[in-house]
Protein backbone atom coordinates (compact mmCIF):
# COMPACT_ATOMS: atom_id res chain seq x y z
CA UNK A 1 0.00 0.00 0.00
CA UNK A 2 2.82 2.37 0.92
CA UNK A 3 4.58 1.49 -2.30
CA UNK A 4 1.37 2.19 -4.22
CA UNK A 5 0.98 5.54 -2.50
CA UNK A 6 4.57 6.47 -3.23
CA UNK A 7 4.22 5.47 -6.91
CA UNK A 8 0.96 7.38 -7.24
CA UNK A 9 2.49 10.44 -5.61
CA UNK A 10 5.48 10.25 -7.94
CA UNK A 11 3.30 10.10 -11.05
CA UNK A 12 1.16 12.93 -9.73
CA UNK A 13 4.23 15.10 -9.26
CA UNK A 14 5.50 14.26 -12.76
CA UNK A 15 2.11 15.12 -14.25
CA UNK A 16 1.95 18.40 -12.32
CA UNK A 17 5.44 19.33 -13.47
CA UNK A 18 4.62 18.53 -17.11
CA UNK A 19 1.46 20.63 -17.03
CA UNK A 20 3.27 23.51 -15.35
CA UNK A 21 6.09 23.56 -17.90
CA UNK A 22 3.78 23.32 -20.92
CA UNK A 23 1.42 25.95 -19.56
CA UNK A 24 4.35 28.33 -18.99
CA UNK A 25 5.43 27.92 -22.64
CA UNK A 26 1.91 28.60 -23.91
CA UNK A 27 1.65 31.72 -21.77
CA UNK A 28 4.94 33.06 -23.13
CA UNK A 29 3.95 32.45 -26.73
CA UNK A 30 0.54 34.03 -26.27
CA UNK A 31 1.99 37.09 -24.51
CA UNK A 32 4.94 37.83 -26.84
CA UNK A 33 4.37 37.13 -30.52
CA UNK A 34 7.39 38.19 -32.51
CA UNK A 35 7.35 41.22 -34.81
CA UNK A 36 7.55 38.67 -37.67
CA UNK A 37 4.25 37.13 -36.55
CA UNK A 38 2.66 40.54 -35.96
CA UNK A 39 3.66 41.70 -39.44
CA UNK A 40 1.88 38.69 -40.93
CA UNK A 41 4.68 36.27 -41.76
CA UNK A 42 6.75 35.77 -44.89
CA UNK A 43 3.97 36.44 -47.43
CA UNK A 44 3.14 39.80 -45.87
CA UNK A 45 6.80 40.76 -45.73
CA UNK A 46 7.21 39.74 -49.40
CA UNK A 47 4.21 41.89 -50.38
CA UNK A 48 5.59 44.93 -48.54
CA UNK A 49 9.03 44.34 -50.09
CA UNK A 50 7.57 44.21 -53.62
CA UNK A 51 5.70 47.44 -53.00
CA UNK A 52 8.88 48.98 -51.59
CA UNK A 53 10.83 47.93 -54.69
CA UNK A 54 8.27 49.44 -57.07
CA UNK A 55 8.22 52.62 -54.97
CA UNK A 56 12.01 52.83 -55.23
CA UNK A 57 12.00 52.09 -58.97
CA UNK A 58 9.54 54.95 -59.50
CA UNK A 59 11.31 57.39 -57.16
CA UNK A 60 13.26 59.84 -59.33
CA UNK A 61 15.53 60.75 -56.39
CA UNK A 62 17.06 57.28 -56.15
CA UNK A 63 15.85 55.03 -58.97
CA UNK A 64 19.01 55.61 -61.01
CA UNK A 65 20.91 53.72 -58.28
CA UNK A 66 18.68 50.67 -58.67
CA UNK A 67 17.42 50.53 -62.24
CA UNK A 68 20.11 48.26 -63.68
CA UNK A 69 19.55 45.84 -60.78
CA UNK A 70 15.75 45.70 -60.93
CA UNK A 71 15.76 45.40 -64.73
CA UNK A 72 17.77 42.13 -64.55
CA UNK A 73 15.54 39.32 -63.19
CA UNK A 74 18.46 37.44 -61.59
CA UNK A 75 19.85 40.51 -59.82
CA UNK A 76 16.36 41.60 -58.82
CA UNK A 77 15.73 38.17 -57.28
CA UNK A 78 18.90 38.40 -55.20
CA UNK A 79 18.11 41.95 -54.06
CA UNK A 80 14.51 40.99 -53.25
CA UNK A 81 15.55 37.87 -51.31
CA UNK A 82 18.18 39.82 -49.37
CA UNK A 83 15.65 42.51 -48.43
CA UNK A 84 13.04 39.96 -47.35
CA UNK A 85 15.65 37.97 -45.39
CA UNK A 86 16.88 41.13 -43.67
CA UNK A 87 13.39 42.24 -42.61
CA UNK A 88 12.33 38.69 -41.69
CA UNK A 89 15.46 37.98 -39.62
CA UNK A 90 15.38 41.43 -37.97
CA UNK A 91 11.75 40.81 -37.00
CA UNK A 92 12.57 37.48 -35.35
CA UNK A 93 11.43 35.29 -38.23
CA UNK A 94 12.85 31.98 -39.53
CA UNK A 95 15.19 33.59 -42.05
CA UNK A 96 18.91 34.14 -42.24
CA UNK A 97 20.33 37.20 -43.94
CA UNK A 98 23.21 36.00 -46.10
CA UNK A 99 24.12 39.25 -47.82
CA UNK A 100 26.99 41.59 -47.02
CA UNK A 101 26.84 43.95 -44.07
CA UNK A 102 25.37 47.37 -44.83
CA UNK A 103 28.81 48.94 -44.40
CA UNK A 104 30.48 46.54 -46.83
CA UNK A 105 27.66 46.84 -49.35
CA UNK A 106 27.53 50.65 -49.40
CA UNK A 107 31.19 51.64 -49.00
CA UNK A 108 32.25 53.73 -51.97
CA UNK A 109 28.71 54.58 -53.06
CA UNK A 110 28.61 57.94 -51.24
CA UNK A 111 24.91 57.73 -50.42
CA UNK A 112 23.59 61.16 -49.38
CA UNK A 113 21.20 61.79 -46.45
CA UNK A 114 18.56 62.92 -48.98
CA UNK A 115 18.85 59.60 -50.81
CA UNK A 116 18.61 57.63 -47.57
CA UNK A 117 15.57 59.64 -46.47
CA UNK A 118 13.94 59.02 -49.85
CA UNK A 119 14.49 55.27 -49.40
CA UNK A 120 12.99 55.32 -45.91
CA UNK A 121 10.05 57.33 -47.26
CA UNK A 122 9.48 54.64 -49.91
CA UNK A 123 9.51 51.94 -47.21
CA UNK A 124 7.07 53.86 -45.01
CA UNK A 125 4.80 54.36 -48.03
CA UNK A 126 4.87 50.60 -48.67
CA UNK A 127 3.96 49.87 -45.05
CA UNK A 128 1.14 52.46 -45.19
CA UNK A 129 -0.19 50.96 -48.43
CA UNK A 130 -0.80 47.71 -46.56
CA UNK A 131 -2.15 49.50 -43.46
CA UNK A 132 0.55 48.08 -41.20
CA UNK A 133 -0.34 49.21 -37.66
CA UNK A 134 1.70 52.06 -36.18
CA UNK A 135 3.29 49.88 -33.48
CA UNK A 136 4.58 47.29 -35.97
CA UNK A 137 5.73 50.03 -38.35
CA UNK A 138 7.71 51.75 -35.60
CA UNK A 139 9.17 48.45 -34.39
CA UNK A 140 10.36 47.62 -37.91
CA UNK A 141 11.83 51.08 -38.49
CA UNK A 142 13.60 50.77 -35.13
CA UNK A 143 15.26 47.57 -36.38
CA UNK A 144 16.29 49.07 -39.74
CA UNK A 145 16.99 52.67 -38.66
CA UNK A 146 20.39 52.04 -37.04
CA UNK A 147 21.69 50.96 -40.45
CA UNK A 148 21.80 54.62 -41.51
CA UNK A 149 25.24 55.19 -40.05
CA UNK A 150 26.63 52.30 -42.13
CA UNK A 151 24.97 53.49 -45.34
CA UNK A 152 25.14 57.30 -45.53
CA UNK A 153 28.35 59.05 -46.51
CA UNK A 154 30.46 55.90 -46.96
Amino acid sequence: MNKLKRTSFMWLMIAALAVNVSCDDDDEQAADPTLYTRLGGIDAIAAVTDKFLTNVASDNVINARFEATVADPSRLQLLRNNLIDQICAGAGGPCQYKGKTMLEAHTGMNISPAEFNALVGDLVAALDFYDVPEAEKNDLLAVLGPMQSDIVGK
Binding site: A46, S58, A68, T69, V70, A71, L78, C88, A105
Partner: protein
Protein backbone atom coordinates in the same frame (compact mmCIF):
# COMPACT_ATOMS: atom_id res chain seq x y z
CA UNK B 1 48.42 10.87 -68.79
CA UNK B 2 48.42 10.53 -65.03
CA UNK B 3 48.14 14.31 -64.67
CA UNK B 4 45.15 14.41 -67.01
CA UNK B 5 43.47 11.65 -65.00
CA UNK B 6 44.10 13.52 -61.76
CA UNK B 7 42.70 16.76 -63.19
CA UNK B 8 39.64 14.93 -64.51
CA UNK B 9 39.13 13.28 -61.12
CA UNK B 10 39.46 16.62 -59.32
CA UNK B 11 36.92 18.25 -61.66
CA UNK B 12 34.52 15.32 -61.26
CA UNK B 13 34.79 15.48 -57.47
CA UNK B 14 34.24 19.24 -57.61
CA UNK B 15 31.09 18.82 -59.69
CA UNK B 16 29.73 16.16 -57.34
CA UNK B 17 30.47 18.33 -54.29
CA UNK B 18 28.80 21.38 -55.86
CA UNK B 19 25.80 19.30 -56.93
CA UNK B 20 25.50 17.77 -53.48
CA UNK B 21 25.81 21.14 -51.78
CA UNK B 22 23.17 22.68 -54.06
CA UNK B 23 20.69 19.94 -53.12
CA UNK B 24 21.32 19.53 -49.39
CA UNK B 25 22.06 23.14 -48.37
CA UNK B 26 19.51 24.75 -46.15
CA UNK B 27 17.49 27.08 -48.27
CA UNK B 28 16.09 30.17 -46.72
CA UNK B 29 12.34 30.64 -46.62
CA UNK B 30 12.76 33.36 -49.22
CA UNK B 31 14.40 31.08 -51.78
CA UNK B 32 11.16 29.12 -51.90
CA UNK B 33 9.18 32.23 -52.84
CA UNK B 34 8.04 32.54 -56.46
CA UNK B 35 10.33 34.95 -58.34
CA UNK B 36 9.01 38.23 -59.71
CA UNK B 37 10.10 40.56 -62.51
CA UNK B 38 9.94 44.34 -62.35
CA UNK B 39 9.36 46.72 -65.22
CA UNK B 40 9.22 50.53 -65.33
CA UNK B 41 7.37 52.76 -67.74
CA UNK B 42 7.60 56.42 -68.72
CA UNK B 43 4.18 58.05 -68.45
CA UNK B 44 2.82 61.16 -70.16
CA UNK B 45 -0.54 62.62 -69.25
CA UNK B 46 -2.44 64.34 -66.51
CA UNK B 47 -3.71 62.47 -63.49
CA UNK B 48 -4.53 64.16 -60.21
CA UNK B 49 -3.42 62.55 -56.93
CA UNK B 50 -6.69 60.72 -56.38
CA UNK B 51 -6.71 59.30 -59.93
CA UNK B 52 -3.07 58.25 -59.55
CA UNK B 53 -3.76 56.38 -56.29
CA UNK B 54 -6.86 54.73 -57.73
CA UNK B 55 -4.92 53.54 -60.78
CA UNK B 56 -2.19 52.20 -58.50
CA UNK B 57 -4.70 50.20 -56.44
CA UNK B 58 -6.52 48.97 -59.55
CA UNK B 59 -3.31 47.68 -61.19
CA UNK B 60 -2.08 46.17 -57.90
CA UNK B 61 -5.25 44.06 -57.71
CA UNK B 62 -4.76 42.47 -61.15
CA UNK B 63 -3.95 38.73 -60.86
CA UNK B 64 -0.27 38.13 -61.48
CA UNK B 65 0.78 41.58 -60.27
CA UNK B 66 2.35 41.82 -56.82
CA UNK B 67 2.87 45.60 -56.66
CA UNK B 68 2.42 48.79 -58.69
CA UNK B 69 3.70 52.28 -57.96
CA UNK B 70 3.25 55.59 -59.77
CA UNK B 71 5.49 58.39 -58.60
CA UNK B 72 4.12 61.71 -57.33
CA UNK B 73 5.13 63.50 -60.53
CA UNK B 74 3.08 60.98 -62.47
CA UNK B 75 5.83 60.34 -65.02
CA UNK B 76 7.14 56.92 -63.92
CA UNK B 77 5.24 53.73 -63.13
CA UNK B 78 6.82 50.49 -61.92
CA UNK B 79 5.16 47.11 -61.68
CA UNK B 80 6.33 43.87 -60.01
CA UNK B 81 4.71 40.79 -61.52
CA UNK B 82 4.91 37.03 -61.98
CA UNK B 83 6.27 36.59 -65.53
CA UNK B 84 4.47 33.26 -66.00
CA UNK B 85 1.09 34.91 -65.40
CA UNK B 86 1.33 38.27 -67.12
CA UNK B 87 3.58 39.95 -69.71
CA UNK B 88 5.24 43.37 -69.73
CA UNK B 89 3.34 44.28 -72.89
CA UNK B 90 -0.05 43.70 -71.29
CA UNK B 91 1.02 45.83 -68.31
CA UNK B 92 1.57 48.82 -70.61
CA UNK B 93 -2.02 48.45 -71.81
CA UNK B 94 -3.36 48.41 -68.26
CA UNK B 95 -1.48 51.60 -67.35
CA UNK B 96 -2.96 53.75 -70.12
CA UNK B 97 -5.98 54.29 -67.84
CA UNK B 98 -8.40 54.05 -70.71
CA UNK B 99 -6.39 56.27 -73.03
CA UNK B 100 -5.70 59.09 -70.54
CA UNK B 101 -1.98 58.30 -70.43
CA UNK B 102 0.74 57.65 -72.99
CA UNK B 103 2.92 54.78 -71.82
CA UNK B 104 6.33 53.70 -73.08
CA UNK B 105 9.01 51.41 -71.62
CA UNK B 106 11.52 53.34 -69.52
CA UNK B 107 15.05 53.42 -70.92
CA UNK B 108 17.28 51.58 -68.47
CA UNK B 109 21.03 51.84 -68.32
CA UNK B 110 22.41 48.26 -68.68
CA UNK B 111 25.34 49.03 -66.40
CA UNK B 112 25.48 50.11 -62.81
CA UNK B 113 23.03 49.25 -60.07
CA UNK B 114 23.91 47.55 -56.80
CA UNK B 115 27.41 46.10 -57.23
CA UNK B 116 26.84 43.55 -54.46
CA UNK B 117 24.04 41.81 -56.27
CA UNK B 118 26.00 41.80 -59.48
CA UNK B 119 28.79 39.83 -57.83
CA UNK B 120 26.68 37.23 -56.07
CA UNK B 121 24.12 36.66 -58.78
CA UNK B 122 25.99 34.32 -61.11
CA UNK B 123 26.98 31.82 -58.40
CA UNK B 124 23.52 31.91 -56.79
CA UNK B 125 21.89 31.33 -60.17
CA UNK B 126 24.25 28.43 -60.85
CA UNK B 127 23.41 26.79 -57.50
CA UNK B 128 19.68 27.24 -58.10
CA UNK B 129 20.03 25.51 -61.49
CA UNK B 130 21.66 22.48 -59.83
CA UNK B 131 18.99 22.28 -57.11
CA UNK B 132 16.41 19.64 -57.97
CA UNK B 133 14.15 20.87 -55.20
CA UNK B 134 13.18 23.93 -57.28
Amino acid sequence: MKTIKLIFLAVAVGVVVLFGYANVRQRSVTEKLKPVNLISFQMRGNLNTEERLLLEKKISAVPGITACSLNKEGNVASVAFYPDRITGESLAGLLTAGGKLLVSPKEISPVGGCPVHQIGTSFQKFLTTLDFRN
